[in-house]
């Protein structure tokens, strides 16, 4: 009897499968809900939203009403910079919680694997970051959409921003776990702030991995007319996303490698995850090293989509009955009247002359260091105007200041391109020099005198160049700046300008070929 009872006692108790795993999943879900309700990241939201409004939103709304212009600051990383230091710092504070309160040992013996618990804390904090930043970007895009005149909405900057913030949250959290000191959180925030500041002014290809972009230093500065003439480039944003995802995966993997995180298998999984993150980030670094930059457009062969190289087709908007019509992209048609009126005196003065352009076309911008880059190409000659419309910052203003009719604040891009007087002051000299250089040349005294005379007749006095000595970083303008009052060239130019339009026209028709060939001297001029 005793042996039968003993045998019965020794029968193995059937194990109920999966109860252990489901209990852990339930615990992890409960932890996530707790963390969502109690995350310190909730405190960050008002601060980040305020700074976004103060810095990015207000400044964006002051720019020209096109998608490319009003998302210019977003594409320069301004929105991410508003949030990133706070996100990293608050994430570090969250990660350092157990170490700071000296409860790590107590927490370490709980059933839920440490890696899962840490990921829950991080996920809760990051959820609020994504929600807040996404809300801010949604408000920005809805505001732009309500009044925009042209272009298309870029979506890659939104993806890059959110990915960057998720990565910074992961990195900050991991640093907080590894260095659970009260000093960690503020120093992490400052270091993130500094990295974004320094990479903004760093030259070279690898600096392009940073979402913070400076128009002065970057190889591929964000352009205000992006999405107007060509589709937005996606090569660089894709590689940026790879890089930031790699860093995030690396940081999250390192959360699970310490001894308290569980058995060897779990820790091995965490190490493999971290290695995968390193591989992804390294791949991104390698890809950006293969980038080629032409006219500010980045091409990375491995991820290139050739459809981005196809210009966006459009029907230009042209000024009506001018002798030389001015045509712009429909996105800028609000500025067409002022541009046409501002250039009219110059274009009317050269219209019909041998070699004069038959029309003026807006082409994609090539630089924002000059308000316009003009060139005359083709046969029949066409005046190509690369207009810097929609950039932030002040434009050049003549030494005598803006006209009294122009109200302050002067001179944003909107103010400049809305005023025919300012266009006459700032744009007409640069356009005029390109036209006369093409028609006449600037190589010798006779050519310079006739060029200056033509410009004078078109409302660009020779004294304008002298007074602006060095202000226009344009080689052709600098030639004319050296023609000083009282010199024979200057006097010849004044005489040429004083002729009647018909006499000027007749003289040029008869002598332009000789003048271009350099076979005339000042003595041959009327």
């Amino acid at each position: 009897m005793t042996d039968v009872a003993t045998l019965a006692d020794r029968r193995p108790v059937p194990r109920e499968p999966h109860r252990h795993g489901s209990a852990l999943r339930l615990a992890s879900g409960r932890l996530l809900r707790l963390e969502l309700r109690r995350s310190p990241m909730l405190l960050m939201i008002p601060v980040g939203v305020f700074l976004f409004w103060f810095d990015t939103y207000r400044s964006s709304m002051m720019l020209d009403p096109t998608w490319g212009s009003q998302t210019l600051l977003l594409r320069q990383g301004s929105a991410l910079e508003d949030f990133a230091p706070f996100v990293a710092g608050f994430a570090a504070w969250t990660g350092a919680r157990d170490g700071r309160r000296r409860t790590a040992e107590q927490i370490g013996v709980t059933a839920l694997p440490r890696w899962a618990a840490r990921l829950s804390s991080w996920a809760a904090a990051t959820f609020w970051v994504v929600l807040a930043h996404g809300f801010c970007l949604a408000i920005l895009y809805m505001s732009i959409d309500s009044h925009v005149t042209g272009g298309s909405a870029p979506w890659w900057p939104v993806i890059v921003d959110l990915t960057g913030l998720i990565a910074m949250s992961a990195i900050g959290f991991a640093l907080g776990v590894m260095l659970p000191s009260r000093f960690t959180a503020p120093l992490v925030a400052i270091v993130v702030f500094m990295i974004l500041t320094v990479t903004r002014t760093a030259p070279g290809k690898y600096a392009m991995l940073s979402p913070a972009v400076s128009p002065m230093y970057s190889l591929s500065p964000a352009k205000a007319d992006a999405g107007v003439f060509y589709p937005y480039g996606s090569d660089l944003p894709k590689v940026q996303v790879f890089f930031w995802v790699g860093l995030a995966v690396l940081a999250l993997g390192t959360l699970g490698v310490s001894a308290v995180c569980g058995g060897r298998l779990a820790r091995l999984g965490a190490a493999v995850t971290a290695a995968a993150g390193v591989a992804l980030a390294a791949t991104a670094v390698g890809l950006v090293g293969t980038a080629t930059v032409v006219d500010g457009r980045v091409t990375i062969a491995a991820v290139h989509d050739s459809s981005q190289d196809v210009p966006i087709s459009y029907t230009p908007s042209c000024s009506g009955s001018a002798a030389i019509p001015v045509c712009v992209n429909p996105a800028y048609q609000d500025y067409l009247p002022s541009i046409a009126a501002g250039l009219a005196p110059l274009l009317d003065a050269v219209a019909g002359l041998p070699g004069a352009p038959v029309r003026a076309n807006q082409v994609p911008s090539v630089t924002d260091s000059l308000p316009v880059v003009a060139s005359v190409t083709g046969s029949p000659a066409t005046l190509d105007l690369s207009l810097s419309v929609g950039d932030q910052g002040l434009m050049w203003i003549s030494p005598s200041g803006p006209p009294s009719s122009v109200t302050m604040p002067c001179c944003s891009s909107r103010t400049l391109w809305s005023s025919s007087e300012l266009i006459g002051l700032e744009i007409k000299p640069l356009v005029g020099v390109a036209v006369v250089k093409s028609m006449v040349g600037l190589s010798d005294d006779a050519q310079q005198a006739v060029s200056l005379g033509l410009l004078e007749s078109g409302g660009v006095p020779a004294s304008e160049f002298v007074s602006r000595d060095g202000q226009f970083p344009d080689a052709n303008v600098q030639i004319l700046e050296k023609v000083l009052p009282g010199t024979p060239t200057y006097e010849a130019a004044q005489r040429f300008a004083a002729m009647s339009a018909q006499a000027r026209h007749a003289w040029l028709v008869a002598h332009l070929d000789l003048l271009r060939a350099g076979r005339l001297t000042l003595a041959d001029l009327p």
């Binding site: 700074l51 706070f86 710092g89 959180a185």
Partner: protein, 211 residues
């Protein structure tokens, strides 16, 4: 030894022990090491030309390093004991004031030495003004807010200052934007320092039960 001298000696021993324990509880040795690190960071930033020229970029990095130093000074003002410490007597405010002022002074010296021999835009007077003002802002923030929000105040100020530098503001409320000789900015920074030190001394850094 006469009884009076013995009593004085024991009081001195007790005071020095109190001071040592107070400084240890505030992680002052760690703070000092980190402040030396800030000085080294300033020197490195100059050598690798992160601080060069006279434009906005030459002001941004030094202000961030000074902000880091100010945050270190005020993080060290936090008490590990919370409300309990307020019940132990009248020396705590003087200890808090002395420790914060001492750390701030050490920070200024470390940054000035870190900027030598090249110097930065604004010079030593600029460093002194920035550190004074940022310490005051950080101290006020630590006295009013608890936890990570205490650091958010100075960070927010740094963000606005950087915007102001790029936009060429000259308001004395944002002293990093103003020239070194600007009297209004110097007065504002000094007032901020006084307010911050008083807040730290009287109230101490705010703590809540879940920090």
């Amino acid at each position: 030894m006469p009884p009076a001298a013995t009593s004085t000696f024991r009081t001195g021993l007790a005071n020095s022990r109190l001071l040592r324990l107070f400084l240890l509880s505030r992680h002052v040795p760690t703070a000092l090491a980190l402040l030396v690190g800030c000085g080294v960071a300033m020197q490195l930033a100059i050598r690798v030309h992160w601080i060069a020229g006279t434009g906005a970029s030459s002001q941004a990095v030094p202000i961030l390093i000074e902000g880091a130093a100010a945050l270190i000074v005020t993080v060290a003002a936090r008490s590990p004991f919370g409300e309990v410490e307020r019940a132990v007597g009248g020396r705590t405010p003087w200890l808090r004031l002395g420790a914060t002022l001492g750390l701030a002074t050490f920070a200024v010296v470390a940054l000035i030495l870190g900027a030598e021999p090249h110097g930065i835009l604004g010079g030593n007077v600029g460093i002194l003004r920035s550190m004074a003002g940022l310490t005051g802002v950080a101290g006020l923030s630590a006295a009013v807010f608890a936890g990570p929000l205490a650091s958010a105040g100075p960070l927010l100020y740094l963000g606005i200052a950087e915007f102001g530098i790029n936009a060429q503001w000259t308001s004395p409320w944002i002293w990093p934007c103003c020239p070194t000789h600007d009297r209004g900015a110097a007065i504002t920074a000094a007032l901020a320092l006084v307010a911050g030190l008083l807040a730290i001394a009287v109230r101490g850094a705010r703590e809540t039960s879940d920090q």
